[in-house]
Every structure is written in C-alpha cells, then in structure tokens.
C-alpha cells in the first residue's frame, strides 16, 4: 500500500513540474507578445498616417466616375467615401503633406449632412471594430488674441505668439488689417503700429487708429480682424469677428453656409486674400457675388453659391442687411472631443501617437493621429 502512495506522489510531483513549466513559459512569452503588439500598433499608426496625409481619398459620383476632389463636392456625403485621404488633389505632381482645406473642414463641419463622421473614416480605412482613433489638427504657431482695449480713437489688440510647448516666439512678424462693411462695400483699416510689449516674450500689441473711420456705427457693427503671424516661413492666420452685428458662417467649396434662413436671395461677398512678400504677409480684398440662396438639405442652414472662390482666400464677409456673416478658412480641433471614435471620453486610451507638420491653406499645422486597440 505504501508503495502505491510513493508512485502517486512521484506522479503528482511530475505533473506539478510540468504545470509550473508551462505557466512560466506563458508568463515569459507574454511580455514579448505585448512588445510585439505595441510595435505593430506603432507601425499601423505610421501606415494610417501616410495614407491619410499622402492620399487624396476617393468617392464615387452619380455619373459612375470617381472623384479625388471630394471635399468641395457637396453631392458627396461622408458615408460615400471608398477611401479616406486628406491630401490636396492636383492636376500635376502633388506636394507631400499639403492637405485640402475643404476635406479637413468636412471633419467638423457645422452642416450635419456634409460632415464626415469618425465612423465613416474608420470604415473607409478598414479599421473595423479592432481599432479606435482620434485626429487633432492645430496651428504650429499658437496665436492668442486677447480682448481689445478701446481708448478714444484707438483700439489695441494684445497678441501672444507661442509655440506648442508654450514657449514665446519673439522674432515673429505680425501683420494686421481691420475689415468692415459700410454702405454695401468693404473697407479696411491698416494697423497703425505693431509693437512688442515686450516683443522678446512673444507679446505684441496691434494698434488701430480709428480717427479716419467715417462711419463709426458701421465699423462697430461689422469690424473683423485679419491677423497674420509669420515666423521663419511658418505662418498662422486668423480672421476673427469683433463687430456687434457679426455672426459665424462657414465656407465649403464655393458655397457659403449660415444658420437660419436666407434673408436675401443674392448679394456681394467680400473675400480677404493673403500673399507673402519677403518674410511678411499682406492682405487684399476682392468682391464677388453670392447667388442661388437655398436651404441646406438637413435644414437649419442657408446656402449660397459664390461666383468665384479665390484659392488664397482666408476670410469671407457677407452682409445680408440684418447680419454680417463672417467665415474663416482656419482649422482647429483638439482633444478627445475634436474628432474621435469615442468623443465622450475625457482622455485618449493607451495606444500609439504620431504627428507631422502639414500645410493647410498655406498655413502650418500640426496633424496628430492617435490609434488604440479596442481590445488587447
């Protein structure tokens, strides 16, 4: 009887050794597997970033053809995309990392039917339910305009120029114009001075002398600041409305949208364009017409057709008699609420992150992609 116990005990020891060895093998292999999966996630992020930044994307049209210029085509809905890419379409060789402003604006466009949802992007990138992702796009130069100080005949706008780490950029070149609509025409007021306060800390003050403004009521109602900050070839532009009668409008392709219904069936649109000379930027304005006022497909928005869209336009103003509609070509979305497959999350899940500097509408932006696995 004792002999059997000895054999059973030996057998138990052998089983215990084998189980322990198998457990050790598994536990040793797990970290290696995790490292490999993290590396793969990094490569997948790089792969997706290349696709999004270098490819134009495509969408089929009703006539059976396929368009790569899907951003400005209002007949293309987000769900129509067969491939997703934000690169600017060109008849000749495309420049790398130059993105199409219409395609980018589609990502958080106000008119629902024209917005491209994160789920549509995930589908066209074939991410399925395995991955979640988020995009952030923000200017390389962090330009903050503080509330103006209005003193008698002068308006002073404090401008802070920082990089993305919050460090001041002292040597930037700041150019500013104030645009306003008077008697159906656009007028501009150049900055009387741009001074550093102190300039070494990236603090500037843009001053406007309003003594020359003939119609102060029209000025206060529609004034809109066009501001350009240039630093070593990097540019950031803002077109900010300050007038008491100004409201936000949106431009996509050659159409202007604003909330509510159209007060006029047609009118004049003032496009503010910019060009560079040396290390500074300059502004000009041109006038075109708006026609064919309709209501956008999902209601709540009026839509106008522009007779021409200047390629270098950075801002738009339209006076419909009761309101001055102001649209900008600037892009900004940041954080989990920006453009993400889980917009309700307060932080991004643990995953991989990669960024590139891109050009959108002749301005430098940081384009950041977050990618995470939905399950490990």
């Amino acid at each position: 009887m004792h002999t059997i116990y000895e054999y059973l005990f030996t057998g138990l020891i052998i089983v215990a050794i084998v189980v322990a060895s198998a457990t050790m093998l598994t536990s040793i292999s797990m970290p290696l597997k995790m490292i490999s999966e993290r590396e793969q996630l990094k490569v997948t992020t790089e792969k997706l970033l290349s696709q999004v930044l270098l490819s134009t994307g495509s969408a089929p049209l009703a006539d059976g053809t396929v368009t790569a210029d899907w951003g400005r085509n209002l007949n293309v809905a987000g769900a129509d995309l067969t491939s997703f890419g934000l690169a600017k379409q060109s008849e000749t060789t495309r420049e790398s990392f130059v993105l199409d402003v219409d395609k980018v604006q589609r990502l958080n466009f106000s008119v629902n039917s024209l917005r491209v949802e994160p789920r549509s992007v995930a589908t066209s990138l074939q991410l399925g339910n395995d991955y979640g992702f988020a995009l952030e796009i923000f200017p390389v130069l962090n330009v903050t305009v503080r509330p103006p100080k209005v003193t008698g005949s002068s308006e002073e706008y404090p401008v802070l120029v920082r990089n993305n780490e919050g460090m001041p950029i002292p040597g930037a070149s700041v150019t500013a114009e104030m645009y306003y609509i008077v008697n159906g025409y656009v007028a501009n007021l150049s900055a009387s001075s741009v001074s550093g306060t102190p300039k070494e800390l990236g603090n500037f003050t843009v001053s406007f002398d309003t003594r020359g403004v003939s119609n102060k009521t029209a000025f206060e109602r529609s004034k809109t600041l066009a501001l350009s900050v240039d630093y070593e070839g990097t540019r950031s532009i803002q077109f900010r409305r300050y007038g008491t009668g100004t409201y936000d409008a949106y431009v996509l392709g050659d159409c202007l949208f604003h909330s509510g219904s159209a007060a006029k069936s047609s009118g004049s649109i003032f496009e503010v364009i910019t060009y560079r000379r040396g290390s500074s930027s300059y502004f000009r304005n041109v006038t075109f017409t708006l026609t064919n006022a309709t209501t956008a497909a999902d209601g709540g928005y009026a839509r106008y057709q522009m007779s021409y869209l200047e390629p270098s336009a950075i801002g738009f103003m339209f006076d419909d008699g009761s309101k001055v509609w102001v649209a900008s070509r600037s892009v900004f979305f940041y954080g989990p609420g920006g453009f993400s497959t889980i917009p309700s999350a307060s932080t991004f899940p643990l995953g991989s992150q990669l960024q590139r500097v891109v050009t959108i509408a002749d301005q430098a932006y940081v384009f950041r992609l977050y990618l995470w696995r939905m399950s490990w």
Binding site: I4, L25, T82, R94, T123
Partner: protein, 179 residues
Amino acid sequence: MPVSITHVIGTVALLGMLIAVGFAFSLISSVIEADLMKGQLGDVAEYVALNLGEVISLVDASNYPGVTMTKAIELPETISGKSYNIMLLNQTGLGCYVQASMVSRPDVYARSLIPLNITGSGVWLRDETVKAPGSWWWTYLGDKVIPTNGTSAGFRYLVWAHWEREIEAGLGRENPSAG
C-alpha cells in the same frame, strides 16, 4: 511477489503519465511558439504593408503615367530559425493585405492591411508566379528588380509600384546578375 507486481504497475503508470504530460507540454510550448511566431510574422507583415502603402501613395501623388518607384526593405532571413512566405492579397470586397506565413506551418500566419480603399479597386497587387524576363513586368521594373512572391535568404528585397491606368504594386528582389 505482490510487491514486485505493484512496482511494475506503478512504473508503467508513471511512464504512461510521463509520455502524456510530455506530449501535453510539447503541445503547450508549440502553441506558445506559434503565438510568438505570429507576433514576428505580424511585425514583418506590418513593415511590408507600411512600405508598400508608401510607394503606392508616392506613385499616386506623382500623377505621372509610367512612373515606377521602388524602396528597399530589410526583411529577416528567418523567423525563429524557420523559413517564411510573404503573399500580397487583394480580396474583392475586403481590400488589400500583406500575409506572412511559416513555410512549415501554413496555419501560422499574420495579415496586415494596406489601407488603400474599401473595395481594393484601382490597385493591382502582383502576387502571381514570377514572369520570365522580357514580359511586361520586366518592361517597367527593368533588369534590376525581379518580381517575386515569397522570400529566400541572401537577397535584398524591395517594394515597387507602377502607375499606368491603375496602380500595380508588388514585392521584388534585386537581380544580382544586373550591373
């Protein structure tokens, strides 16, 4: 006498158990090894897919018919000391993939998506048998690149893409006999 019969039974049972647990252990270690190989195959597949996607994007961006681009890639000669294959798949309705699999165990494989488009249309992945010199592949790849399917030790590999009416892309290796 009864004692020796007990020993015989005990020894046979122990031997049987040793064989059984040995077999179970080899099964477990084989599953773990396959898991690790899958991870390494996944690394290779992701790497090839990344580079293939890049050359396809660059050829597409060139907007210039007839342009061919190649990019050298560094592939490991073996995975865990064993040979492996790389295949390019364009599955209708599912898209384009790079698949890396072990030669000795085709069931151990990893796939990586080339995120071109949903339908896989517009891109023709060359994954058929290698054509002879003088055929149309060779016309645009020249004599320095041999289109290939699978890997062999001792060669320098590259990914290539060519744009004509649609994009053709594939895996190739340098032709050692070309100057």
